[in-house]
């Protein structure tokens, strides 16, 4: 078994932060003026300002959710809702300011791009600072840019789909995002185009007390195919940061979309994300979702199966260590006949961490011939850790086949003993068992990501055996 010698401590590897001078910044706290200011900075059309204000009003009127994680510790008034570190978007890596470039280099992005990436969109705090799509992709009409730029360059397409999947009234944090959103990715894949390599965006929170509210809109036209990957990291601060993103995916008939997330925010980030896809006839939407970082994550990637024969798949893993709560899950809403969904969730709790699976499966009347399966497995590694499972299964159509299973357990001592008898240390053996437990997820990742993810898990597992 290949052990990486460089991994010796479980310190947060991306926990550096840079002193960057921000070009624009709103005062801490959120008022109507903040929303107007953001819109003015961005020089947006009137409809977007109206949209933001409508969302802002809804945000104010809506109470904090009482379920899920503990949200009482967030001080919304200390958060800076908008920061702009550099002027506009750069096309070439050389034009990116040195400081920011250094950060990304430490994250290994240019390297990754050289290797296999079709495009890179890196978000540094609020604005997309670097963006490129390989030439051949632009030629075939694939759009991959910052969402702000998408609004400027493709106003009609943008307006047609924006907020159609997640309206501002959906939940409090979707309303907040809608009011102050900035950055994120805008992707359009034209009819019949298959993007051969994954599109990737790195998101990063740098400044202290920064709220990050990226808004991603992915439109995949008929028969097209794309894989989008995002990774998230943030430096460690003692005060808490907030990340409230909204991701909307529209999979038009016969298209295929895979959206992969590896979330590794530092352990002071509140990660409250609304991710939802509309799957039209005979399309396939897959959320591949890993959560190892953050203080609290509340994220339930959803798929509304709107067209006949659509398929949904969610594979999600969560690892919660000390002081962490991963409240994650998945939703599949079957609105059309002969739709299928499969949800697999794996979670690991250790050092007092808490994982929660919260899922919803719904089949509406008339959605005949639905087949769905949900499987949740949880590992609890030590005393003091906690695991919860809350599935909601609401079936309103008799012609439905649905199965749900969940198990919770500890690491099998037999397996560890066996591996140790073959010469592994207890730590290595445990690691291997955990990696095997998560393999259903890992095998869905591109190789580089799989290696990185296994390292992350290993880091998380360091010292978990007293």
């Amino acid at each position: 078994m290949a052990t990486s010698p460089e991994i010796v401590s479980s310190e947060y590897k991306f926990g550096f932060h840079d002193e960057v001078e921000y070009l624009e910044e709103t005062a801490a706290g959120l008022t109507r003026g903040t929303v107007e200011e953001i819109s003015r900075f961005k020089n947006e059309p009137q409809w977007m300002l109206d949209f933001r204000l409508r969302a802002y009003e809804h945000y104010l009127s809506r109470p904090m959710p009482q379920w899920g994680g503990d949200l009482m510790q967030i001080d919304m008034s200390k958060i800076v809702y908008y920061r702009k570190p550099s002027q506009g978007e750069e096309k070439s890596w050389d034009d990116v300011p040195d400081k920011i470039k250094k950060t990304f280099e430490r994250l290994g992005i240019p390297e990754a791009e050289r290797k296999f990436l079709a495009g890179v969109g890196a978000q540094y705090d609020s604005e997309v600072v670097y963006h490129s799509v390989r030439e051949e992709l632009s030629k075939i009409g694939v759009v991959f840019m910052g969402t702000d730029q998408g609004l400027k360059e493709y106003p009609d397409l943008f307006r047609k789909y924006f907020a159609t999947v997640v309206p501002p009234e959906d939940n409090k944090f979707a309303a907040l995002n809608s009011a102050v959103w900035s950055g994120g990715s805008f992707v359009y894949v034209p009819k019949g185009v298959e993007v051969p390599l994954p599109l990737q965006a790195y998101f990063r929170i740098n400044a202290e007390n920064t709220g990050q509210f990226e808004r991603t809109l992915i439109i995949v036209d008929e028969g097209a195919k794309v894989h989008y990957i995002e990774g998230c990291t943030a430096p460690i601060y003692t005060t808490d940061a907030l990340h409230a993103a909204v991701v909307e995916v529209i999979a038009l008939p016969h298209s295929k979309v895979r959206y992969t997330t590896i979330q590794n925010w530092s352990n002071d980030v509140y990660n409250l994300v609304t991710k939802r896809a509309h799957a039209h006839a005979h399309s396939t939407v897959e959320w591949i979702d890993a959560n190892t970082g953050s203080k609290l994550t509340m994220k339930y990637p959803s798929i509304y199966l709107r067209g006949e024969g659509a398929t949904a798949e969610v594979i999600s893993v969560a690892v919660a260590g000390k002081g962490q709560h991963q409240d994650t899950g998945a939703k599949a809403i079957h609105l059309a006949p002969n739709t299928r969904s499969r949800i697999i969730s794996k979670s690991i709790s250790k050092d007092g961490g808490r994982t929660t699976y919260r899922g919803q499966l719904k089949v509406v009347p008339g959605a005949t011939g639905v087949v769905s399966s949900v499987r949740c497995d949880a590992l609890l590694l030590d005393e003091g850790s906690r695991s919860d499972t809350y599935p909601y299964i609401d079936i309103q159509e008799d012609d439905t086949t649905m199965t749900h299973e969940a198990t919770v357990g500890k690491i099998s001592q037999d397996q560890v003993f066996y591996l140790m008898s073959r010469g592994l240390t207890e730590n290595e053996a445990t690691n291997l068992v955990v990696q095997g437990f998560l393999e259903v997820f890992t095998k869905e990742l591109p190789m580089e990501y799989a290696i990185e993810f296994n390292r992350l898990v290993k880091l998380e597992m360091e010292g978990s055996l007293g």
Partner: protein, 491 residues
């Protein structure tokens, strides 16, 4: 929107003084609105005065009232989206007064065949209360709470005041605690093993009647007993539902079953609910299971317009176990809202919980379950299964089987859930053996529900349950053409 004002929409107290000749629309009821109008402090004090309650009991009732007033209809945020009381129109119901239950011939009622003891309430009257000589000789006690209060006030206080097992966070349980007027006490002494079951029967359904009752069961160490509880339509209830729907008004039942099992004891409890369709029932069953003891629930839910049932199993003693099997057979527009909470506290405890629903017409079942494994509960083995078969296009099943686990050292913790139509391969098999499709469907459904039927310990009650299931099948499914998938009915 926690509570509606419940007041009719008449403008300024002048009915008909509205703008146009249009009749005032009935007040719109939100799913969480409870239309009970009699729950207040005056009513509580009235009940206590009529029953001649001691001060501590009045205080206990008032504490229940405060709980009722403070709590939301569903205190567990997991389940708040799935509350629906819109079919419970209870503004006209009035609780039966306390102290009227001393039926004259109760002591002379015949003991049902095969039973060790028998108690029966018909509406607000105690119509039977008899023990077999064996049960009496063994020291088994079966009496009303009123008579226990007169005979041994200290014990009553001990049971209600000190060791109440009703969930503190349940609004409806607290309402029953505040306003109960009728009650039973069953005690089985240490070491007593009864072969025959004890039968408890509630028959009601007279329009606008409301019965609030508590049943306290205490099982001594190493005792072994079975209880059959039947909740059935009285003649008044049957005719009220039989006439034209609910024109006569709804009837209301709120009943608790509060159980304590001593070390090494075993209780098999079979509950059969077949109230008429004008009935609204809130059931609370809570049990504290002691060291090495076993509790077996076999529960069948057939009747009522709306049932809201909650079961709390507390596995407190080391090595204690609970087996719970519950079936629902729904038709018309019945709603079964069934929640079960199982909490593992002791070491090496076992929970095995199974809910099964067969739903026809526009019936709905909300099957909710939560297994909680506390820190000290090493070696827990817990399984929760929630299954439903939908027999019509309009039926709806909601399953929420949840787990909360604080102790990793478990033998097994799992839940499973499945929803589907009747398995066509099973149908095909039975048809190939010569059964007509309707009959084949009937056999599959009855077989699916059989695990609970088989656990009813009283032969006559078991037969009755089988008959009821068959009758319900015939009423809801048997009449329709066998070519089932009526896709045209769906928009």
């Amino acid at each position: 929107m926690t509570k509606s004002e419940g007041a009719p929409v008449a403008v300024g107290g002048r009915p008909g003084a509205g703008v146009a000749a249009r009749p005032a629309a009935p007040a719109r009821q939100a799913p969480t609105d409870l239309t009970l109008t009699f729950v207040d402090e005056a009513a509580v004090r009235g009940v206590a005065a009529a029953a001649g309650d001691p001060d501590w009991l009045l205080a206990d009732r008032l504490a229940g009232l405060r709980g009722f007033e403070a709590l939301p209809i569903e205190s567990n945020p997991l389940y708040t989206p799935y509350v629906d009381l819109r079919n419970a129109h209870l503004s006209a119901v009035r609780p039966y007064p306390a102290g009227t239950s001393a039926g004259a011939g109760a002591g002379k009622a015949p003991l049902p065949e095969g039973a060790a003891a028998y108690a029966e309430f018909t509406e607000d009257r105690l119509t039977a209360l008899v023990l077999s000589p064996e049960a009496r000789d063994a020291g088994v006690v079966l009496e009303t709470l009123a008579s226990l209060g007169a005979r041994n006030p200290a014990l009553l206080r001990d049971l209600l005041d000190g060791g109440c097992t009703l969930p503190e966070t349940d609004k409806l349980g607290q309402m029953t605690r505040a306003l109960w007027t009728h009650g039973l006490f069953l005690h089985v002494p240490n070491g007593v093993r009864l072969e025959r079951p004890i039968v408890l029967r509630w028959a009601m359904g007279a329009p606008n009647g409301a019965l609030l009752s508590r049943t306290i069961i205490s099982i001594g160490e190493d005792a072994e007993v079975s209880v059959v509880e039947e909740q059935l339509a009285s003649t008044a209830g049957a005719s009220a539902a039989g006439s034209s729907g609910e024109s006569g008004g709804q009837a209301f039942f709120a009943g608790t079953t509060e159980i304590k099992l001593g070390a090494g004891s075993t209780l098999s409890f079979a509950g059969l609910q077949d109230f008429s369709t004008n009935q609204i029932a809130f059931q609370h069953r809570s049990a504290v299971v002691g060291r090495g003891s076993t509790l077996r629930w076999a529960l069948a839910q057939l009747g009522c317009r709306v049932v809201r049932s909650r079961i709390d199993n507390t596995l407190e003693g080391d090595g204690s176990s609970v087996e719970q099997a519950e079936i629902v057979f729904g038709s018309i527009d019945q709603l079964f809202d069934l929640t079960s909470f199982t909490r593992h506290i002791g070491r090496d405890t076992t929970g095995n919980l199974l809910s099964k629903g067969a739903l026809s017409d526009r019936s709905r079942a909300y099957l909710k379950g939560l297994i909680t494994i506390d820190k000290p509960a090493h070696g827990t083995d817990s399984f929760l299964g929630e299954f439903a078969m939908l027999l019509s296009k309009q039926a709806r099943s909601v399953a929420i089987p949840s787990l909360e686990i604080d102790q990793p050292d478990c033998r097994r913790v799992a839940h499973a859930s499945a929803v589907g139509p009747i398995d066509p391969t099973q149908l095909f098999y039975l048809e190939s053996r010569g059964l007509d499709p309707d009959e084949a469907r009937k056999f599959i459904i009855l077989g699916y529900l059989e695990p609970v039927v088989a656990r009813v310990s009283l032969a006559s009650a078991q037969d009755r349950l089988r008959d009821l299931l068959e009758a319900k099948w015939a009423a809801s499914m048997g009449a329709r053409p066998s070519a089932a998938p009526d896709a045209a009915a769906v928009a």
